[in-house]
């Protein structure tokens, strides 16, 4: 009698039914945990297909044009603001937003806002020698590197996932110490494998070009904070061992501890000492295995901290030829060590926080001249410098029909003629559409106070829409100046010397911060 067993019992009793309940609970737990796990990777992989290869390679640095006073005022404001206000967009894990819980495109946008955006230097800061740090800038892809949950993720400037791999960064690979809360976030330049091989040809070229600097072995004066010699302890397998090199230029978080609210000087000091701590535990004594070590099974790509100096005359000079020095060192070590081709220098104000949220900060600056970059002037797709300076602007739509930069607020450099707008039609010419222009004979126009007033623009064609945004004004201005009156290393050195003299001989600048 089947009903007999069910009578008056409902869901009660019988050990087996309780056990069944626990089995079901265990299965639920397993199912959910499985889905969570696969969902994590799904979210990461998803961002990768929404990747925009164009925008990734693009290096749209920016700097709004202003007079020096304005610039300094703004720098002062920014310094003040960051002490008063917490950053509205905090680092991964710090603002309660777990980016893994965001949808693909939202997550991509989230990561895109994490990297600090420097301006281009169009005039020299007055406190260059006393308050700025200078670092060589390798050619490559700027990226955000996150080590967490036993994986290391590299994301492009647009937030797209470039690589996922195990590394020896804390939290970044199997066997690295630390629990869930252990993660690191670094600001890096990625030198890809093929790029590196190609650059090995270029290194020679560059060495010859700046050959007189090649024997500059920095001993004593202007000592870089990180040794540039790389351990030769058996790791000198040939460069065909593969793997990419991440040149670390900044740190956002280390072992779960956020550094975005710290000054640049502290961040770099912290980074250098933490990397050395990590190296202390490894077998290699002179150099942390992350730094220059060759890829291994659990360590497919290498990391290297870039050297930095105070932007004193000596520091500036050392930074400007650091690429060549690294290339020379690489050649001396007979492979395995990452050299790089330099593309100018990266300057940061010592007190400047790591500014996030997508907008440019005047406390971080890019600069290059022909002595420390292969591409002072922008080139086209074929590597040829076009006759006229090219720029990409965004169409603002009716009624103004203006075309403007990506700054906030946008700098309007011109307006599309009525008949042109009609000819293109609303389908092709939606607001936000990116258009390519060249600057003709009329050049850039300025107001009396030096602020931008427009430009003599000629329409060249539609830009690749997938790059995401127009050029910023400081980039346009830097390129404009570079074609006419480039800001040479000598000018920077002179400014630093003048500042030193002004402040008297009491200070000994130029020593490494890490040694302090």
């Amino acid at each position: 009698m089947s009903r007999r067993a069910a009578a008056k019992e409902g869901s009660s009793s019988a050990y087996t039914s309780f056990q069944q309940k626990r089995r079901a609970q265990a299965l639920d737990r397993q199912k959910n945990a499985r889905e969570d796990k696969v969902q994590q990777l799904r979210t990461l992989a998803l961002a990768a297909i929404q990747d925009d290869a164009e925008a990734m390679h693009e290096d749209t640095q920016q700097q709004p044009q202003n007079r020096q006073q304005q610039r300094h005022r703004r720098r002062g404001q920014q310094q003040q603001q960051q002490q008063e206000l917490p950053q509205d967009t905090q680092l991964y894990g710090m603002d309660g937003v777990n980016p893994l819980q965001l949808g693909g495109s939202m997550m991509k946008a989230y990561f895109a806002r994490q990297l600090m955006q420097p301006e281009w230097m169009s005039d020299i800061p007055q406190d260059l020698g006393s308050s700025w740090l200078v670092m060589p800038r390798p050619e490559g892809k700027r990226c955000l590197v996150i080590s967490t949950g036993n994986y290391t993720y590299a994301r492009s400037r647009t937030g797209a996932l470039l690589l996922r791999f195990p590394s020896k960064l804390p939290g970044g690979g199997p066997g690295t110490s630390g629990g869930e809360s252990c993660y690191c976030v670094l600001d890096c330049i990625l030198q890809e494998q093929e790029q590196r091989i190609q650059h090995q040809h270029n290194q020679q070229q560059q060495q010859q070009r700046v050959g007189m600097d090649a024997d500059m072995a920095p001993a004593g004066e202007s000592t870089p904070s990180q040794p540039q010699q790389h351990s030769a302890n058996g790791s000198s397998s040939s460069s065909s061992s593969g793997g990419c090199t991440f040149f670390i230029q900044d740190v956002l978080a280390w072992r779960g501890y956020s550094l975005v609210d710290c000054g640049a000087e502290f961040r770099l000091f912290w980074l250098a000492s933490k990397l050395q701590e990590e190296a202390g535990g490894s077998s290699s004594s002179s150099s942390w295995s992350l730094d220059g070590g060759n890829p291994g099974p659990s360590h497919s790509h290498r990391f290297k901290l870039l050297p930095y100096w105070h932007a004193t005359p000596d520091g500036l000079a050392a930074a400007a030829r650091a690429g060549a020095a690294a290339a020379a060192a690489a050649a001396a070590a007979a492979g395995g060590c990452p050299g790089y081709v330099q593309d100018g220098v990266y300057l940061r104000h010592v007190e400047g926080h790591y500014s996030q949220g997508g907008g440019c900060t005047p406390l971080a600056l890019l600069w290059k001249d022909a002595g420390c970059s292969r591409y002072l002037l922008d080139t086209d797709g074929d590597g040829v410098v076009p006759e006229f300076q090219q720029l990409v602007l965004a169409y603002q739509g009716p009624p103004t029909d203006g075309v403007a930069t990506a700054d906030e607020p946008p700098v309007v450099l011109g307006r599309l003629p009525q008949e042109f707008v009609q000819q293109m039609g609303p389908k092709l010419l939606r607001p936000g559409r990116l258009l390519r222009f060249s600057i003709r004979a009329g050049g850039l126009l300025f107001n009396a106070d030096g602020s931008p007033a427009g430009a003599d623009l000629a329409y060249e064609g539609p830009a690749n829409q997938r790059r995401g945004r127009a050029d910023v004004y400081t980039k346009v201005l830097f390129q404009w100046q570079a074609r006419r009156q480039p800001l040479q290393l000598e000018a920077l050195l002179a400014a630093a010397v003048a500042e030193q003299q002004q402040q008297g001989a009491g200070q000994q600048q130029g020593s490494s911060m890490a040694d302090d």
């Binding site: 056990q19 626990r22 397993q30 499985r34 796990k37 990777l41 799904r42 992989a45 998803l46």
Partner: protein, 884 residues
């Protein structure tokens, strides 16, 4: 030609009271069977059909013969049937004739044995079209003149058994005209003017088995009318056995021809009410069962909601008339019956039926039952009035499931006070039913997470409730068991309570303490304290599952308590097998509680520490439980390990070396498939938590899993779970999984092939369910692999599999009814593929069919699936657009 041998003595010895004689005879019989199968068959048939032999040896000859033709075990049965099939046709004919002739011979019980054997031979021969004249030979017995009652009875039995055998064969063996003739003979035997009650009973019983084949006859109104008339008349036959059998026929008819019933419901109602009110208990029980069966049918119809299947809503119509009849039966309790778990009488059956009526008729039942409840629940004028109080309470408890919570909310609110007071009723039967009813009230009317219904148990009412329940834990054991259940349901109702502190929190510790005390109660008045222990532990589990954040500290304190309890079990006396079994069961319950505690604490990050502070002790204890069994692995301990891994995370790595032998043993335990299944699941838990630290064990684990997947000894339910586990391992091992990839790819493509074939030859629901499990396993495995390998590697290693997977998705898309979980997993897998593999668009476009698109559309159109799958739908669309 096999010559029969004298076997009389041998068979008689096989029934000898002396065990030595018996076993020697049994041995000789089986030797005979092995060495000379044809001779063996011929001898048994000769014995059975020989009037001169003793009835005992003839009967046993028949039974032995029957056992050479059939076995419970399917593979053994197939073997026996094949062996009979290979027997020389002449001998087979000889045996068939002997069987038919035995039907004509006295005594009756030998005829009966022959009927059983005949059906077994028919089960083999008829599908092979080898005994074409069987049915006509049997029918000849029925029309013989003068009629012989004994022969007719045995023939009707044979017809019934043959129908029963045919029903278990899927193909249609009997020709329509054969079925017609069988039914005519059977129904003729059921006529009221049948002189032999035994023959009429045999006919009625045969009809139960034949009804399934009577589709054509039930389509014909006059034939149907005649059959129904015979059945209904049987319900008032002189012989009680015939009345019982007639109601059983009605169950079968309702189950098979529900749609044809309307014309007969008036009469069926009348005879069933008469049986319930006036007939013997056994007949009354079958009459009540008819209505319960009808409820089952209408509940299924309401569930499936298939417009092609008519629901006549008989139950709704009958409720006002049937309910009073049933309520009257509730007062016919057998005193002391509440303590017997297997008690079954009209009162119990009527209460059960009332519960089914409530589920079927829903709100309509409430006004029919409540007057009886309010009138009787407080009756206390005579000593026998406890029957009224108990009946009223039982009636109330029975209708709590079915009617909408809204329609009952106010009534239940008013009844609560009454019920709580009744827990002090002088009669234990009333207290027992009251405790059961309170549990049902909590189960169906108390859900703090449901804002649609006003809260039944509030901070104001809970103190009294708690006090009464805690008191009830000290009552007689069978009542305390029900109180434990009620506490469990009470806790369950607070599971959905949002906030730091539920109304249960202030009583949390006290209730748990009392449950612990109850679990260790040994009541001399009642031998069965195990049941109380089980119920008390499960109530603790429910309390823990429902614990709100402010009681998690108390939950944390339970860990050492239960570790201590487990330690105590090792002091139990374990001399006998039964005692060892008892120890293992108690350890299982305790590990179960430990599992629930650890899972609860691990869900909250800061309470993981509460588990971790005892980590070594927990693992030592669980290992000791494992070590206590020599050839098996304790499943509950294994599940506890699974829960433990979530508290530990990667730290679990240090326990891997000591656990691994048991993990391996569990994976190899094919006999106890639940143990194996749970172990596979726990392996997934471990992998998620220790990740690559599992690597040193993976070669062997993968070998075991792959072996299990290919083995016929392994229960099929385990196989989908193994595939999912491949996904788990691929996900956490990443590149290190590559060395298993070729094998796993092969396994998966075999599994996909099997699944696609199964989907094409779709059979019964059971098969479809299993295929869906298999599909989920396959889909989870692939998702794990694609995502575990990541963008570059997946493109390189897995792209070649993509066309196969798309065909697999197509097969799923062709399902008549899509399963949500399968579809969601499948769409997500397509999303995975489009995300990590390049240029999937062209492959999707080139697929043989585009049934996979149905899956995407199904998710797009479904509100609840879209959220989980939108990303995947977009990813697939992007891939397809890029290919355009």
């Amino acid at each position: 030609m096999a010559a029969p041998v004298e076997v009389t003595q041998l068979l008689l010895h096989a029934q000898d009271p002396d065990a030595n004689v018996r076993s020697l005879a049994e041995q000789k019989i089986s030797q005979f069977q092995e060495h000379d199968y044809p001779g063996f068959l011929a001898s048994l048939a000769a014995e059975l059909s020989s009037l001169a032999k003793p009835a005992d040896s003839r009967r046993l000859a028949g039974l032995v013969l029957k056992n050479t033709l059939d076995a419970k075990d399917e593979s053994r049965k197939a073997e026996l049937q094949a062996r009979w099939g290979a027997v020389d046709p002449t001998l087979k004919n000889q045996i068939r004739e002997a069987l038919l002739s035995t039907l004509q011979m006295e005594p009756q019980d030998v005829r009966h044995t022959a009927a059983l054997v005949l059906a077994k031979v028919a089960a083999i021969d008829l599908p092979r079209r080898e005994w074409p004249n069987l049915i006509s030979s049997l029918l000849a017995n029925m029309s013989a003149t003068p009629p012989h009652h004994g022969v007719r009875q045995a023939t009707l039995e044979t017809l019934g058994y043959v129908c029963e055998e045919m029903a278990s064969i899927n193909e249609e063996v009997l020709a329509p005209e054969q079925i017609n003739m069988v039914l005519t003979a059977v129904v003729a035997g059921m006529r009221p003017d049948e002189p032999s009650d035994d023959a009429r009973l045999a006919a009625t019983t045969a009809l139960q088995n034949a009804i399934e084949f009577a589709e054509h006859n039930f389509d014909n109104e006059s034939e149907r009318n005649y059959i129904m008339q015979m059945v209904c008349q049987g319900a008032s036959a002189r012989d009680e056995r015939i009345r019982i059998a007639s109601f059983t026929c009605l169950h079968e008819i309702a189950a098979n021809y529900y749609a044809k019933l309307p014309a007969y419901m008036g009469e069926v109602f009348a005879i069933s009410v008469k049986a319930i009110n006036e007939d013997s208990e056994d007949v009354g029980l079958q009459a009540v069962e008819f209505w319960s069966t009808l409820c089952d049918i209408e509940l299924d119809l309401a569930d499936e909601d298939d417009p092609a299947e008519i629901n006549h809503h008989f139950i709704k119509a009958v409720v006002p008339h049937l309910v009073p009849v049933l309520l009257k039966q509730l007062t016919k309790q057998d005193e002391g019956q509440e303590q017997e778990e297997t008690a079954w009488n009209l009162a119990m059956a009527s209460g059960t039926c009332l519960g089914l009526l409530a589920r079927t008729a829903e709100d309509a039942i409430v006004p029919q039952v409540m007057p009886f409840v309010t009138e009787n629940i407080g009756k206390n004028t005579t000593a026998e009035d406890w029957r009224l109080r108990e009946a009223a309470t039982f009636a109330f408890g029975s209708i709590l499931e079915g009617p909408s919570p809204r329609s009952l909310a106010e009534i239940v609110r008013q009844a609560m006070g009454f019920l709580l007071a009744a827990m002090k009723d002088p009669h234990p039967y009333v207290r027992d039913t009251t405790a059961w009813t309170i549990g049902r009230v909590f189960e169906f009317q108390h859900d703090a997470g449901n804002t649609d219904v006003p809260e039944l148990i509030t901070r104001e009412t809970l103190p009294q409730v708690a006090q009464v329940l805690l008191g009830g834990l000290g009552d007689q054991v069978h009542i305390a068991v029900r109180v434990c259940d009620a506490i469990g349901r009470l806790a369950e109702g607070f599971t959905g309570y949002a906030g730091q502190s539920s109304p249960l929190s202030p009583f949390f510790k006290e209730i748990i303490t009392n449950l612990l005390n109850a679990s260790s109660r040994s009541d001399p008045s009642h031998g069965d304290s195990t049941r109380l222990q089980i119920s008390a532990f499960e109530a603790i589990n429910d309390m823990v599952r429902a614990a709100s954040p402010d009681t998690l500290d108390t939950v944390g304190q339970l860990t050492p308590v239960f570790l201590q309890e487990i330690a105590k079990t090792f002091n139990m006396v374990t001399a006998s097998g039964e005692q060892r079994e008892k120890q293992a069961e108690l350890q299982g319950q305790l590990c179960g509680v430990l599992q629930v505690i650890m899972q609860k604490l691990s869900e909250v990050e800061q309470y993981k520490a509460a588990v971790l502070q005892y980590a070594d002790q927990i693992m030592e204890t669980l290992l000791r439980v494992f070590g206590n069994q020599t050839c098996s692995v304790h499943e509950e301990a294994m599940l506890a390990v699974g829960a433990f891994t979530y508290a530990c995370g990667r730290q679990f790595t240090k326990y891997l070396p000591s656990l691994y032998p048991y993990l391996k043993m569990g994976l190899m335990n094919h006999q106890e498939w639940q143990v194996c299944l749970s172990t596979v699941g726990v392996l997934g838990d471990i992998s998620r938590n220790v990740e690559t630290d599992l690597l040193p064990y993976c070669d062997e684990i993968m070998q075991l899993l792959i072996h299990n997947l290919g083995s016929n000894d392994v229960h099929r339910s385990i196989k989908p779970q193994i595939l999912s586990t491949f996904g788990d391992l691929a996900l956490v091992l990443g590149d290190s999984f590559e060395k298993y990839l070729e094998t796993v790819k092969r396994m998966l493509s075999q599994a996909m092939h099997l699944s696609v074939m199964q989907a094409q030859s779709s059979a019964d629901d059971d098969f479809l369910d299993y295929n869906n499990e298999l599909r989920i396993g396959i889909l989870e495995a692939y998702s794990g692999i694609f995502q575990g390998l990541g963008p570059g590697k997946a493109d390189l290693q897995m792209k070649s599999e993509v066309p196969l997977i798309i065909e697999f998705a197509n097969s799923i898309g062709r399902d008549a009814t899509l399963d949500d979980t399968v579809v969601r997993n499948c769409v997500n897998l397509l999303g995975d593929i489009c995300t990590v593999v390049n240029h999937v668009g062209p492959i999707l476009r080139q697929a043989r069919t585009n049934d996979w698109e149905k899956l995407l559309n199904y998710c797009s159109d479904s509100g609840h699936l879209l959220g989980d799958t939108e990303w995947a739908i977009n990813a697939v669309h992007t891939a397809v657009e890029q290919a355009a």
